[in-house]
Amino acid sequence: MKETLAKRLVADLMDWKLERATSEFAWLDLMVNYKFDSYQQYGPGHRFYVHLLRWLSQYEMADRERIWKLLREHLVYISQDEMHHLVSLTGPVIEREMRTAVAKQLGLPVYRVNDDPKASRRLAEMQCRTLYVGVSDGARIDVFRRYNEGTVNNEQVVAMIEISELKQAGLKEKLRERLDAIKSTAPATFEWVCLIDDFTASGTTSIREEGNGKWGGKVQRFIKEVDKTRENAPLITDDAHIQVHHYLASKAASIKVSGLLERFQAQSSGMRFIPSFSYVLPNDVVVTSATHPDLAELLEKSYDPGIETTHTGSDIALGYKQCGLPLVLDHNTPNNSVATLWARSDPKAEKYEKHNHMSPLFPRRQRHSDVRS
């Protein structure tokens, strides 16, 4: 759709006066070209303006100003470039943790790790014996590798938690070579593992308590995976550091993950769990009925329960687990974000409410094999 026509239609839908239209056109010009139109779930013929027009028109005239505010004043859109930048911050974060660990091991103040020959050798050794694991597609492990060319060897990076025995053997072989090259006699096992994922808003995908002392989540899956070879051909050391790194997290999730890892550590032998984040979103972006009463009220009243699935559970007008995020990621919109941003109603769903048919602004590609509840 031609931009000029689209803007005209938006202005008509919103019934803007001249001054307002001029200013909002300028804003749309910027954001559409710089961010929105690149959204990866869009395609030719259905990009931002098309979705915007549909999205605005589902609301009554009286409510449109309020919903426009969600877009204009609250939306947080993380573009691919921005996400890549968060990836680039990871290397220094990991290095800082390692430096602290070496200092602790040798009883030195952190600043001496560089100057002290023993400490810098230890650090070099530790960096060799580090395994970087991309825990999901979103981890963009290839981008991570590019940013850390020169410090991270290709043979230290794996793109998934499942590591076959054959693969494990191969990794250890290469590790031995690296250690030999720096004249280290340390065993060819990994003492530091970075589990890297892109985003968490609930914290539960990483780690969760499932009751009866049982745990779930990616951390747990990784431990299970390496447990398979622990007896005969361990991949990692018994007292390994497991750094759980997310590029992006909500404030609530960062607190949750940190807390859960502490508890998990208490129940695990020897290993140490370190949470870290490239960027933690501040709490004030979260939409709740207390903080954004007008908006929350509108979202609740326009809600179609037909979008719920077995995975999401019920009552997700403010997003999965009511996380209330106004967040869109360039490659997909998390379902922790307020539903109006990403949800598309299915008229065949059992709980479908026709008068609240929902059309998304940034449609979400479902990641779980969901069954509509």
Binding site: A26, W27, D29, L30, M31, N33, Y34, K35, L75, V76, Y77, I78, D81, E82, H85, L86, S88, L89, P92, R96, T100, P109, V110, Y111, R112, N114, G150, S278, Y279, L281, P282, V285
Partner: protein, 355 residues
């Protein structure tokens, strides 16, 4: 890639309490600024008998009385912290005709202090210091450290809530930071392509325009957007605020934006280093010369990242001097607590790494 030995947060305090008591004669250079963070490092170093504290008192013409008053209070507080006799020297930032001379004056003063006594370590506490004085003296000391065994430390403390109701008033003409001149001033490099890396900041529109004009319309502009930031929308809002410039006057496409952490100088350093080295590589053998020009605008910490990049890669810095301050409402002196951000850099150890 050039490595910058750095420490942050509690590691800095650990370093200070471990290293300095047994170090040799140490010179601490600071500025009598008006924010409470200015006291943080002097509190820890002042009581040591091997540390000589020397302070600039930056003088500008159009400073509201309330700020001058606060600065005087600071001066008094600093004196109380010092074990050895302390010196405070007025540094005029502007000449009578309004031209910036702060950098030159600061370097002259540092030159005198270094001639008066032999030091093993020099600490520049840039916490309350303007860029125009901090940057040149850091470069001066960096150059010195290449020829002598002197150790050079750069310390910075900052808090997120610092005086948000104080606005800087900028000069209406720009110039090269003292010691960081553009080679494009000379005939040999007059035709070099300029890549202008400029920090975007709120209400900086007029400054940006002045710099763009005085740099003679640089061929390429790379605005630096603060991301990650305390406000996740800040970068977008800055782009919107300044759209007239980058869309219409600079004709930049979004591909040319770089991002750097709002309060992490190391990230700023890395982002610029990546940009500069990639560019140099891309143009090698093409016959084209390119000069990367840096302009720090706005908050202090990202500027420090630019300084480190400028030192490491010999980059010029173009800027507008702050000629005064505008205070809106009451000046509430902040509480003295532990600053949100603390950084230490070993400037004498900026070395290229071997991959």
């Amino acid at each position: 890639m050039i490595r910058v030995p750095n420490l942050s947060l509690d590691d800095v305090d650990e370093f200070i309490s471990d290293y300095f008591p047994t170090a040799g004669a140490t010179l601490l250079i600071g500025n009598v600024g008006f924010s409470p963070e200015v006291l943080y490092f002097p509190e820890r170093l002042g009581p040591l008998s091997n540390v000589d504290m020397r302070f600039f008192h930056e003088r500008r013409p159009a400073v509201p009385a309330v700020i001058t008053h606060l600065a005087s209070e600071r001066e008094q507080q600093l004196r109380e912290l010092s074990a050895c006799p302390m010196q405070v020297v007025d540094i005029a930032i502007l000449a009578e005709d309004g031209a910036p001379i702060g950098g030159r004056n600061a370097c002259m003063q540092v030159h005198q202090w270094l001639n008066a006594k032999a030091y093993t370590d020099v600490v520049v506490d840039a916490t309350g210091m303007s860029r125009c004085t901090a940057f040149p003296i850091v470069k001066q000391l960096y150059q010195l450290s290449r020829d002598t065994p002197i150790r050079v430390h750069l310390l910075v403390a900052d808090s997120t809530q610092a005086f948000s109701n104080v606005e800087s008033v900028s000069n209406d003409r720009g110039g090269w930071m003292h010691g960081f001149p553009g080679e494009t001033e000379t005939d040999e490099f007059a035709k070099a392509l300029k890549l202008w890396v400029v920090q975007l900041s709120e209400k900086a529109g007029t400054s940006l325009q002045t710099m763009y004009r005085e740099l003679d319309s640089p061929e390429e502009v790379c605005p630096v957007l603060p991301f990650p930031a305390q406000n996740p929308r800040r970068a977008d809002e800055l782009l919107f605020e300044h759209r007239e410039y980058w869309q219409r006057e600079w004709f930049e496409s979004p591909l040319n934006f770089i991002r750097a952490h709002e309060t992490d100088p190391m990230d700023v350093f890395h982002s610029i280093a990546r940009l500069h080295t990639t560019r140099v590589e891309a143009l090698t053998g093409s016959g084209l010369i390119s000069q990367t020009v840096l302009s720090p605008v706005g908050r202090r910490l990202p500027g420090i990242g630019m300084l480190l990049a400028a030192l490491s890669y010999e980059l010029p810095i173009f800027y507008l001097e702050t000629v005064g301050y505008d205070v809106h409402g009451d000046l509430v002196p902040g509480a003295r607590g532990i600053p949100t951000h603390r950084w230490h850099f070993r400037v004498d150890k900026l070395t290229p790494t071997h991959d």
